[in-house]
């Protein structure tokens, strides 16, 4: 009954190699069958929930048609900075679609999970859609708010999220600063004065854009909400045009939420091909149309979505890019910490 004894170590070792190679072959064959299904994790920021539900559905159908492989894309949403921290700490994102390039830079620098030049790998600096910052007021616009100057009038209660924790809030802050800077002909002191008065009228700093929307729409705080254009459109569409109105300022910022492949994670999961195709899909007319439906401004001009004309400046033009903006305005002890004095 006992297995045959090997006469030498050499004979035994060669038998082991034969068995291991055979088992590995069987495993590879089994693995080929199981590769018919694949999962991706898209780690994104707060307001993109609804957008990516539709994008994921469209991409899964297209991928199935093209490759025969079934793909399931799981979504994770939260404040952009917090999401970046989670990926740095090990959240197994295949792709990140965050509010700020700065947050993806942080992932690259602190975790090395993707290269530092990640933004050069996809068209349009890896930003397949854009947005901007607009105002939402209550129906009838009782305060007569039309542009940025109306937000710093005494007694006006403004709702905006916290730039220290929210990616959307940083776009709001930079929009406020940038328009004041342009209006004053580049006078930084006047821009600082404007932003100081702006945040004096912000009594509550929510940690994210979705929280600020709740504060304004459901808690009844404030006369004006300053938010993402897509979030404003969603709010008005969801809770009723008979209760809220969107006010488009004359000037605002071109917000460019970026997307990126998390190289180390896709290589670990064996999902590089499908994850890369997923991000490229965002630039297709089909995905661009979905973005437009969700009130994100598509990069593809042929989509022809009806977005209001607002004079938009970029972060590069006014602030010299995210790294400089972060250091000057949002780092600990930087300008925002110096000027923020909650009012009311």
């Amino acid at each position: 009954m006992r297995p045959k004894k090997f006469r030498s170590l050499k004979q035994f070792a060669s038998s082991v190699v034969w068995v291991v190679v055979s088992v590995a072959g069987v495993m590879l064959a089994a693995g080929g069958t199981a590769r018919a299904q694949v999962k991706l994790l898209n780690v994104s920021y707060d307001p993109t929930r609804e957008l990516y539900v539709d994008v994921n559905k469209a991409f899964a159908q297209k991928w199935q048609r093209q490759t025969g492989q079934s793909v399931t894309i799981n979504q994770s949403h939260g404040g952009s900075g917090k999401q970046a921290r989670s990926v740095i700490d090990g959240l197994q994102a295949d792709v990140v679609t965050l509010a700020l390039a700065y947050d993806i830079d942080a992932i690259a620098e602190k975790s090395g999970r993707l290269p530092k030049d990640w933004q050069k790998r996809l068209p349009e600096n890896s930003t397949p859609y854009t947005s901007t910052v607009v105002f939402v007021v209550r129906k009838g616009n009782p305060r007569g708010i039309k542009d940025w100057d109306d937000l710093v009038k005494p007694g006006t209660v403004v709702v905006a999220p916290n730039p220290k924790t929210s990616g959307g809030a940083r776009w709001v802050y930079l929009a406020a600063w940038g328009q004041a800077l342009q209006k004053s002909g580049g006078d930084a002191a006047k821009a600082r004065d404007y932003v100081t008065r702006f945040y004096k009228n912000v009594p509550v700093l929510d940690s994210g854009a979705r929280g600020a929307t709740t504060t304004f729409a459901q808690r009844g705080v404030g006369q004006v909400l300053v938010s993402w254009e897509n979030e404003a459109a969603l709010l008005v569409g969801e809770l009723g045009r008979d209760k809220f109105e969107i006010v488009n300022p004359g000037t605002s910022i071109l917000a460019e939420p970026p997307v990126a492949l998390v190289d180390r994670n896709v290589d670990k999961h064996g999902t590089r091909a499908v994850a890369d195709a997923y991000l490229h899909f965002l630039y297709t007319p089909e995905a661009q149309a979905i973005a437009a439906r969700h009130h994100y401004r598509p990069r593809d001009a042929k989509i022809g979505a009806p977005f209001p004309k607002i004079k938009l400046f970029t972060i590069e033009e006014v602030f010299g890019g995210w790294q400089k903006a972060q250091a000057a305005h949002f780092a600990d002890g930087a300008l925002f910490d110096q000027i923020y004095q909650p009012g009311t």
Binding site: M1, R2, P3, K5, F6, R7, S8, L9, F12, A13, V16, V19, V20, V23, A24, M27, L28, A30, G31, A34, R35, Q37, V38, K39, E50, R138, K139, G140, P142, G155, V157, P203, V204, D206, S207, R210, G211, T213, T214, T215, A217, Q218, R219, G220, V221, G222, L234, L235, E238, L239, G240, K243, K268, H269, G270, T271, T344
Partner: protein, 501 residues
């Protein structure tokens, strides 16, 4: 779909009362509109100020004042709400935990952690053969097989520490004492005393081995060794590796110190291909090879009538009777066998777990050079085993069965039952009994075969009641040197009560 979810702690009563009071004012009306709520929460009032009559300046001022007060109230409520949310999300300070994995304290960020575990195995053992009264009586006993308080600690989130003494078997011994630095999952450095790479069943934690005693092939690996080991998991633990420099302990031993300068090298490569992607649905398959090799030099010198350290093992049956010893003399060192130079082990290993089913199999080939007086030689020993197990009411795994529901009499839950069957064998080199006579064939067996079954009742992950039956037959090991007979077949029934957390 709730796009704008309501925080839990919202309190609107104060504002609602305020607004209701405004509605009663004869000269001023502040109407409340109810925002549509999509998540099933009660409606929330949002303010719409109805302008007062144009001819009343004082009414306008009053309306503005009331509007301001309303905003102040709402802002205060919201700030309170956000503060409470933030407080709920803020990690507390050091925390104390007590669960099925042990008792512990840890810092808020888990960078510093202390865990206390324990393993107690209380056995009742009996041999069921009658033609060797000495052995029978020796085994027929209650026994504290393992009594181990286990201390685990984490420092700076970077270094883990484990210390495991054992007070079982009427001895006191140190089993594990090592520090594990883990800058990344794929590169870890372990230093101290730990289980060396050879022996898959040996690497399985004691409390999760389906049988009360390990199989015959565990005779061909060291229980613990001391040294350094680089190890890690790559690609989501689909690839596991170990590379170690060790003292090079003899089979079955846990010696803490080396008595010669040569060291042993050991490695293990273990692949778990189903850890990748969706392959997990196919179960947990692991296969690989462990190898150790090195120079091990024992001595036959006598001290107080005994060889100081031959660096050679004795082999035991599943009933823990000694079935093989190398020749040793209490008077003549030239008649004592000792380890001489090369000692190599190759150990292919395999497991597969899927749902209730489990399979664990391995084979060990050992090459051991020995000396006796001026002569020398080498022995090739082999052993292996196959264990099949099935868990009813739980999931099977290398890290033990997981009952779906713990035993609960009131709820008529019984926990999980594990059934296991095992075949193992040990085949020792005949060269040991001829020529230089490294072992006495009338006292040491040349082969052993064991069949065993086990029934384990897992009340929960921590408590197990076990019963095993092993029947081991032998070749040689009895009679006289000139008329060797087979050692009587062992029929061992063991029972165990185990608590491990």
């Amino acid at each position: 779909m709730a796009l704008f979810a309501r925080p839990l702690l919202y309190k609107i009563g104060r504002v609602s009362s305020f607004m209701a009071g405004l509605a009663c004012c004869p000269t001023l009306a502040v109407a409340q509109e109810v925002a549509p709520v999509t998540d099933g929460a009660p409606p929330v009032p949002t303010p719409t100020v109805v302008p007062p009559p144009a001819d009343s300046a004082s009414s306008r001022a009053l309306a503005q004042r009331l509007d301001e007060l309303d905003q102040r109230a709402r802002i205060t409520e919201r700030k309170l709400e956000l503060a409470q949310e933030a407080a709920a999300q803020t990690p507390a300070g050091a925390s104390v935990s007590a669960d099925e994995k042990g008792f512990g304290i840890s810092s808020a960020d888990k960078s510093f952690e202390l865990k206390l575990h324990a393993l107690l195995q209380a056995d009742a053992r009996r041999l069921f053969y009658s033609d060797d009264a000495v052995l029978r009586d020796k085994v027929d006993t209650f026994l504290l097989r393992r009594v181990r308080p286990i201390i685990d600690a984490t420092v700076l989130g970077l270094v883990d520490l484990r210390i495991t003494p054992d007070f079982g078997n009427n001895t006191t011994a140190l089993y594990d004492a090592y520090a594990d630095a883990h800058p990344t999952a794929w590169l870890r450095l372990r230093a101290g005393k730990f289980k060396p790479p050879v022996g898959l069943e040996r690497l399985q934690t004691d409390n999760y081995v389906p049988f009360i005693e390990r199989s015959l092939d565990s005779n061909l690996s060291a229980q613990r060794d001391v040294g350094l080991e680089l190890w890690g998991d790559i690609a989501n633990a689909a690839v596991h590796y170990e590379l170690a420099v060790l003292n090079g302990n003899a089979d079955g031993t846990i010696t803490d110190i080396d008595d010669e300068h040569a060291k042993s090298y050991a490695g293990r490569l273990f692949l778990r291909p189903f850890q990748l992607g969706d392959l997990r649905a196919l179960g947990d398959l692991g296969f690989g090879v462990a190898v150790s090799t090195g120079n091990e030099k024992g001595s036959s010198a006598l001290a107080s009538g005994l060889a100081t350290n031959t660096w050679l093992p004795t082999f035991k049956s599943p009933a823990q009777n000694t079935i093989y010893t190398f020749t040793a003399s209490t008077t003549d060192p030239t008649q004592t066998v000792f380890a001489s130079h090369r000692h190599t082990r190759i150990n292919p290993q395999l497991y597969y777990y899927n749902g209730p089913v489990g399979l664990l199999a391995e084979w060990v080939h050992e090459y051991q050079e020995v000396g006796k007086g001026a002569t020398g030689g080498a022995v090739n020993n082999q052993a292996g085993h196959v264990t099949l197990s099935w868990v009813f009411g739980g999931d099977n795994g290398f890290d033990g069965p997981r009952p779906r529901k713990p035993a609960n009499w009131a709820a008529k839950e019984l926990g999980a039952i594990e059934l296991a069957a095992r075949y193992s064998w040990l085949d020792l080199d005949d060269l040991g009994f001829t020529g230089s006579a490294f072992a006495d064939p009338s006292k040491s067996v040349s082969a052993a075969e064991d069949w065993g079954v086990a029934l384990n009742w897992w009340l929960n992950r921590d408590v197990k009641i076990s019963g095993t039956w092993d029947q081991t037959s032998f070749t040689g090991g009895a009679g006289t040197t000139t008329a060797v007979a087979n050692r009587p077949t062992e029929k061992a029934g063991f029972a165990r009560f185990q608590v491990a957390f």
